[in-house]
């Protein structure tokens, strides 16, 4: 993926002024201090935001995006939240079991870390050719991060992840780009 001369600003606050970047296939972690524009860049790549100037050349058109907030529907169960974006019932149950979540729970019954895992499963099972994840391990402990990282790696898809943690980079065996 090639990003050339990318310009983007929120109202009058400039975020990118002529950003150039090349991202290889595989798993890449995007690092940088808070507010530098990691989420904005992920959204621009996913097509959820339009650049004001510049181009993003990406051969992968069907992108699954995991937001920084879980964005689960509180009126649906865990399983129904996942099945809203996919028909893969069996895989959903399998991943729920691997990440230790009861699919029949209501969203209000989940802890922060559990909700994050549900959002992760939803992102993984959406029919896509690329994954973009904004702080996917937020609220998870070391053991669960390792489990989740293994599942992400097993997808064998180009994956772009924003994170603040080098431990997460290590668990993912990922390349790092610092903004």
């Amino acid at each position: 993926m090639r990003i050339s001369d990318l310009w983007f600003n929120y109202e009058n606050k400039p975020i990118f002024e002529g950003l150039n970047l090349e991202i290889s296939d595989g798993i890449t972690c995007l690092m940088g201090e808070s507010g530098i524009g990691k989420t904005t860049l992920l959204k621009l790549i996913a097509g959820l935001l339009e650049p004001q100037k510049g181009t993003i050349e990406n051969e992968y058109k069907r992108i699954s995006f995991m937001f920084q907030e879980d964005r689960l529907l509180p009126w649906l169960s865990v399983r129904d939240n996942i099945l809203l974006v996919t028909d893969k019932h069996k895989e959903a149950d399998e991943l729920l079991s691997r990440l230790e979540i009861d699919g029949d729970l209501k969203i209000s019954e989940l802890s922060g870390g559990m909700a994050r895992r549900v959002a992760l499963i939803r992102c993984l099972l959406f029919d896509s050719d690329m994954l973009i994840m904004d702080e996917p391990f937020k609220g998870m402990d070391g053991k669960l991060i390792e489990k989740a990282a293994e599942i992400i790696k097993s997808q064998n898809k180009p994956t772009l992840i924003s994170t603040h943690s080098l431990d997460e980079v290590k668990a993912l065996s990922a390349e790092v780009i610092t903004l």
Binding site: F67, R71, W75, L84
Partner: protein
């Protein structure tokens, strides 16, 4: 828990007793049943009315009229809300009309309706017209306040329009629908009875209110008013029960 409930009921009973006493004292002070009958005279009039078969026919007919108007109003409001939320042109066309309906005095509508239709249909139309703006506005306000993050999530996961409607917009607008339905019930009663008073259809509580005033039967006037208040509260409780039972069933 039980003591809290007992306390709450006790407070209500005490408040009711206080106001009934004030009423009785005022009635004694006035000393003329024609101007202000006391609670005992009203209860006596109510018992006498209830013993007549006409009372029940009048009451049931009024309930049917108002509930019909209410249901027609709710259904129309939902359809109009879907149209105005979904299509900008529909919003441009329909929203000003609903706002005009909301601002127009019910008496103006009643008098106009009396020119256009049969007496017994006027209360139905009035209840319906008063319900539509309230339910419509509650639904559209909640619809417009739908969480933008969820809409962006739906866009990212390419949810179909139907799924967005069914799983995001409808649940988001539903609390507005519920509160609109509850508020509208009281309005349906008030406007329906007002329409009955002015149009005087056969077999109607409103017509009896008017006749009681005409023949200076003040205890009956109070008794019919009490019937309206009791029915309004009772039906609001039933609707609240039905709507919230529906919600809890949906959440199971």
């Amino acid at each position: 828990m039980i003591s809290i409930l007992v306390n709450r009921h006790l407070k209500r009973i005490l408040a009711l007793t206080f106001w009934l006493s004030v009423w009785q004292l005022c009635a004694l002070k006035v000393g003329k049943e024609l101007i202000l009958p006391g609670p005992f005279a009203v209860v006596k009039a109510l018992v006498n009315l209830a013993a007549q078969s006409g009372f029940w026919i009048n009451t049931v007919t009024t309930i049917i009229r108002i509930i019909s108007g209410y249901l027609l109003g709710v259904i129309s409001a939902v359809i109009l809300a879907i149209l105005t939320c979904r299509y900008e042109t529909a919003d441009t066309l329909i929203s000003p009309v609903i706002r005009v309906v909301r601002a127009t005095p019910v008496a103006s509508f009643i008098i106009l309706a009396l020119l256009w239709m049969g007496k017994s249909n006027v209360p139905v139309l009035m209840s319906m017209l008063m319900v539509i703006p309230v339910v419509w506005e509650n639904i559209t306000a909640q619809y417009k306040a739908t969480d933008k993050n969820l809409i962006e999530m739906a866009q990212a996961y390419r949810l179909s329009d139907w799924k967005k409607f069914r799983y995001i917009y409808v649940p988001s607008a539903f609390p507005g629908f519920l509160s609109g339905c509850l508020t509208a019930m009281g309005l349906a009663w008030k406007s329906g009875i007002a329409a009955e008073v002015l149009s005087q259809p056969k077999a109607a509580i409103g017509s009896n209110l008017y006749y009681s005033k005409l023949y200076l039967e003040t205890p009956e006037l109070f008794a019919w008013t009490a019937v309206v208040v009791i029915l309004s509260m009772l039906i609001e409780k039933i609707i609240r029960f039905l709507l919230f039972r529906g919600v809890s069933h949906e959440n199971k």
